[in-house]
């Protein structure tokens, strides 16, 4: 809980909702007849609407990227380290927009919302949406906000994939794309981890084929397991070792199967707190969107030809200890941009925090990020 709002915070914020009555045709073949997008904005749109920045969230993220909803909030938004007055994404210069993705569970149309066609909860019947679907829906939001071209589309992990997809799908609408800790598509190992997470959720007896709400229950065990597994892949061996080591909760081995090591306790805490704030059907959907992401598929698996359409300048960043989407994966994007002769800047950040590093206040990372953003600000006179 913030006693006072820090000077470099966007302060108290509240989300807005865009209700769209025009149908949205999805990659899976189905159509959403109408849908809601919940989003937050920080900063002011300038007179020529050139200083708008789109933030794309990752698997378990949402529209609340910065600031506080109430003075009672325990923590600020998920990317408060990077968004705020004077921060890397400087809200004194930029108008920052962060929507909750379709299929999410924080207010945008998704499995935990009502299907307007029949008045029932969507649940598992919410169509699987893809990264290109998200771009299409966010373009509708951009139209509504009067933004013809984003000064930058920015994201980490799955959000970075959206930033890449934006630049490919709607090249004229993206001035800069900032792709952090991402990959041009998932590897077999990445998909394998997702499948274990999905299996954990689906095999929970309380899952009820996704209709758990009808039974007034939640697949807590399964979703918790999925989160535990995910969390292991977000951290590095070194980061876990530094934070927990082999530390025991009670100081001595108990020769039993209860929680003994601090890391076990931490994972259990992560899992129980997650199940209260996240929807299992959304988790399934998000992992599928990740698995399906493969923009080069339409271009005979040729990533160079895929990025040849991009008009945006790109900043690509990766973290040395990230093994979920390692620097090698970012370099695939960079090398395709190089082969296509596109302007690209690439930084490999020395960091021990693993994949989660993109959310952390790492000085060199935020320095490069902030310098790049200030450079954009000079272009758009923000």
């Amino acid at each position: 809980m913030p006693e006072t709002i820090p000077a470099d915070s966007v302060g108290l914020v509240s989300p807005s909702t865009l209700h769209v009555d025009a149908p949205l045709k999805l990659d899976c073949g189905r159509t959403l007849s109408s849908y809601d997008l919940v989003y937050e904005t920080y900063g002011e749109l300038n007179a020529d609407h050139s200083n708008a920045v789109l933030i794309c969230h990752a698997l378990s993220g949402d529209h609340h990227a910065a600031g506080y909803h109430t003075m009672e909030d325990r923590k600020p938004g998920w990317w408060d380290s990077a968004i705020g007055p004077g921060k890397a994404i400087d809200t004194n210069r930029f108008f920052v927009v962060c929507p909750n993705n379709l299929g999410g569970c924080k207010g945008s149309s998704g499995p935990n919302t009502i299907n307007p066609d029949n008045g029932e909860l969507y649940g598992p019947d919410f169509p699987i949406v893809t990264v290109p679907d998200w771009v299409r829906s966010q373009a509708v939001l951009a139209d509504k906000l009067g933004i013809k071209q984003w000064a930058a589309v920015i994201g980490g992990s799955l959000g970075g994939m959206q930033a890449l997809q934006w630049a490919i799908s709607l090249p004229e609408r993206v001035r800069h794309t900032v792709i952090i800790a991402a990959a041009p598509k998932l590897s077999a190992q990445n998909i394998a981890f997702n499948e274990v997470a999905r299996t954990a959720i689906k095999s929970d007896p309380d899952f009820h084929d996704g209709h758990y709400m009808r039974f007034n229950t939640l697949p807590r065990q399964g979703l918790g397991l999925a989160r535990m597994l995910g969390h292991i892949t977000y951290l590095s061996d070194e980061a876990m070792g530094q934070k927990f080591g082999r530390e025991l909760r009670s100081g001595a081995i108990q020769y039993g199967y209860d929680v003994e090591f601090q890391i076990e306790s931490y994972l259990r805490y992560q899992s129980t707190s997650f199940v209260e704030r996240f929807d299992a059907n959304t988790y399934l959907l998000m992992t599928k969107a990740l698995d399906y992401f493969d923009p080069a598929k339409e271009f005979d698996d040729d990533l160079t030809r895929t990025v040849a359409h991009i008009e945006a300048k790109a900043l690509v960043m990766s973290f040395t200890s990230d093994w979920r989407f390692s620097p090698m994966r970012s370099r695939e994007i960079v090398n395709a941009m190089l082969a296509a002769g596109k302007p690209v800047t690439y930084a490999e950040i020395e960091a021990h925090q693993g994949h989660d590093a993109f959310l952390m206040p790492i000085p060199r990372y935020l320095d490069i990020f902030g310098t790049y953003m200030r450079q954009i600000a000079t272009e758009v006179t923000a």
């Binding site: 300048k313 370099r331 690209v344 930084a347 490999e348 320095d367 200030r374 450079q375």
Partner: protein, 201 residues
């Protein structure tokens, strides 16, 4: 941003609209200068502190270790590949030189001349490893691990079948001195060479 003397020479050799790769691009001053003449390309830099300078200079910069070569770039994909004041800090200058003429139609290499008379005097008479304006570090802490003279460099080019298309040898003040013209390996402080693989001719 002002250009060093070797960078001024390099800038003069590159025609408008060319595509270039600057290896060890430092603060990005050269590429920033070239961009004003519609010369596009990328800088490679490994030094953290210089990287942000490059972004401020508005150039496309990639963090990369030159000792690993240039495998991310296709053959003959640039008009010019530039390596200025960096050759002496490379683990295998011969390997990088081959990479330069593979990736670039032409290569431009600038380096401090270790055959300059002051270097020779410091070693011959002072009995100490030379320290100069171009090479300011003591022997134990210097990143400059592969120093060469103008003659050494020309020999390396010859053994790799590189044609020298142009060269410029100057002192830091860029004064047209008779000494530099008559005995470049003795009086030149900075050498810049424009080279090409012989098959490319």
């Amino acid at each position: 941003m002002s250009l060093r003397i070797d960078q001024q020479i390099i800038s003069d050799w590159i025609p408008d609209g060319a595509k270039v790769l600057d290896l060890g691009c430092g603060n990005g001053a050269l590429l920033n200068h070239l961009q004003q003449r519609n010369i596009t390309g990328y800088g490679l830099e490994i030094d953290n502190s210089k990287f942000a300078d490059c972004i401020r200079a508005g150039i496309s910069v990639l963090q990369a270790d030159l000792d690993e070569g240039l495998s991310q770039f296709a053959d003959q994909s640039f008009d010019f590949v530039i390596l200025s004041q960096t050759l002496q800090a490379i683990k295998r200058p011969d390997f990088l030189l081959r990479e330069i003429v593979r990736v670039g139609k032409k290569g431009i290499i600038g380096f401090p001349n270790f055959g300059h008379w002051q270097c020779r005097m410091q070693l011959a008479l002072g009995g100490r490893m030379p320290v100069s304006r171009a090479l300011p570090n003591a022997w134990f802490e210097t990143p400059n691990i592969h120093l060469c003279t103008i003659q050494d460099f020309e020999q390396l080019c010859a053994s790799h079948k590189l044609t020298v298309l142009n060269h410029s040898i100057v002192n830091h003040e860029h004064k047209d001195s008779l000494g530099v013209r008559l005995l470049p390996n003795l009086f030149g402080q900075v050498a810049v060479y424009l080279v090409q693989q012989q098959d490319n001719e």
